[in-house]
Symmetry: C2
Subunit: 356 residues, 2 copies
């Protein structure tokens, strides 16, 4: 597949459309599946992994799925990082070794990792708050694969997985939220405590252990056993509207009580992005977060959300280097990043933006 083409789009998850898209970036479900006839990936030999890969690819072909396969063997670190930044593969798959790869759908809303922690990690994500759609799509995808594959399944435990935390449904349901007002007013800590109590996990944009750069938070289930997929999805679906409403309330209070302060922060963030000549990834995320909220609150009116969403991903290290067409050290990246942002914001629109 042509990885360079990826850098010209934002992918599905940053499309900026769908329900509640001012706050909900994307909805995502992944299923962990393993083949009954092979040892788990961490116990499998390279020969076995090659065979797993072959069996899975053949199954996807037979199922008539429109997926493009990319092996991670012999793929350079920049290209692997690119796939991580686009949320198409996990850090684990990127940094792993031996035969492994990912099958990607045409709009990047579907991906199937092969030989990650589990033999198959099936993922579907849609822009906005749309878990029922995502479930429908991934359930269909899973059914079509299961017709071709012999999954490791125990009638009592459910799907068997390499790590016991995934046993059962093997499902992880996640929603990525943009929560700048809750973060700024420190109310987010309270939200987190409440979520932990009901067994929901909160993480930053790039998974466990990463900071919430850009005020992006992924909220997902921790439980996989003892409840049905639909129940787990409903659990999360029930709580998200409350968080959305807290964030909206925090924004309105902020704008009501300290409108000038908020307007100042948003406007300066936009000003710095348009003028900086060197900028780190972290500062970029921080400023883009303010600008994104500013657009949603009507404080900035000459910029589209989609441009901001694209900048979030195009300014990540690997994307930036792919776009520049060369490998760059940190200092060079910071300069290139600032130049890229200036061009995008002063041009106003990306070619692709007018496409749909």
């Amino acid at each position: 597949m042509n990885l360079d083409a990826l850098t010209r789009t934002s992918g599905e998850w940053l499309r900026g459309t769908g329900p509640e898209s001012d706050i909900v970036i994307c909805s995502r479900i992944r299923l962990a599946r393993n083949l009954a006839d092979f040892p788990f990936t961490n116990r499998a030999s390279d020969a076995e992994k090659t065979e797993i890969e072959r069996v899975c690819r053949s199954a996807m072909d037979k199922a008539g799925l429109d997926l493009d396969y990319q092996s991670l063997v012999n793929l350079g670190p920049l290209d692997r990082q690119l796939l991580v930044e686009r949320q198409l593969v996990s850090r684990e798959l990127s940094n792993g070794d031996g035969p492994r790869g990912v099958a990607i759908g045409p709009r990047e809303n579907m991906s199937v990792m092969i030989n990650e922690e589990d033999h198959l990690r099936i993922q579907v994500m849609n822009s906005g708050f749309s878990l029922p759609d995502v479930w429908e799509q991934i359930n269909d995808l899973d059914d079509r694969l299961e017709e071709q594959l012999h999954y490791a399944f125990n009638p009592q435990l459910g799907y068997l997985t390499a790590c016991p935390t995934n046993v059962g449904t093997g499902i992880r349901v996640g929603v990525m939220l943009h929560l700048p007002a809750l973060a700024n007013t420190k109310q987010i800590e309270k939200v987190f405590r409440a979520l932990h109590k009901i067994n929901l996990a909160v993480r930053g944009l790039y998974g466990e252990g990463t900071q919430a750069d850009g005020d992006f938070y992924q909220i997902s289930n921790q439980q996989t056993l003892g409840k049905s997929e639909r129940e787990l999805i409903r659990n999360l679906s029930d709580v998200i509207p409350q968080i959305i409403s807290y964030e909206r309330q925090a924004r309105q209070e902020w704008i009501g009580q300290r409108r000038q302060h908020l307007h100042d922060q948003v406007s300066r963030a936009y000003g710095v992005l348009k003028t900086a000549h060197t900028i780190s990834s972290s500062e970029t995320m921080h400023l883009l977060s303010s600008v994104r909220m500013g657009i949603n609150l009507g404080l900035i009116d000459d910029l589209e959300i989609r441009t901001v969403n694209e900048l979030f991903i195009h300014t990540q290290p690997a994307h930036l280097q792919k776009i520049q067409g060369e490998s760059l050290e940190v200092d060079e990246r910071n300069i290139a990043r600032a130049g890229y942002i200036r061009r995008r914001l002063l041009e106003g629109r990306h070619d692709d933006e007018t496409a749909d």
Copy 2:
């Protein structure tokens, strides 16, 4: 006189012309003089002060000087502060009491304070590095006044003054410099130590005790006794070119070694000024200082030095309130200041700027 008219210009000292005007803001000389027939101001009654004022004004008239007299009695605090910000009167005169005032020349390059610490404080300032011109003008002004007034003069000590530090020539020779690169690279401390050793004082923009907001530094003589006026002027004139050369060197090293960093700082400063919705006076000075240097180094090409110089003074609290036509609290001023700066920078040019 019409004080409101002042807010539409920058005054002589911020004209931004004259020799070395990229670094030398203005050159200034003031002479302290007292009338022989009256006690010093701090010992004079209001009746005596009134008489001193009358005698001095009459002398200025008879000498045919083109000066406009402004009494500070019954002048509101905002108008008094306006005169301080324009460097036309001292804080002492503004905050003093009893009959006192200032006579101001048409381009604001001349002013004569009456009943400050001394009966007369004569001042001439020109934009740029031009002490010989300033001396010629103030010497002529002093001579013409002396023809009409009986100065307190002792053949051995020279001119007598209320404070012994001014006895002798009664002269203070000062040059205001913009030294952002020396300040930024901390080399300025070394310069200060060297200046103190040769009896030169360093102060911020608004006199003793004020911080060097905007990286503006006034360098002036401390000695007034035992040397002639010309010697004291020469002492200062000899050292200023060295400081100018240090500043130029510091700028060139900065731009040579860390061009992107410098460009970034300058460009962001300009960006924030164009977009902020609330901004303090101190931050404004700091950012304008970067922008001013950026223009001089060719890093900003769509803005004139004179606009920046005007912003330095028009964003001061009293100027801002006069321009807005109302008295404002600090928070309101910060909002009004940000709005004023945005308008000026986005309009690009002030009406008066094209005048000469």
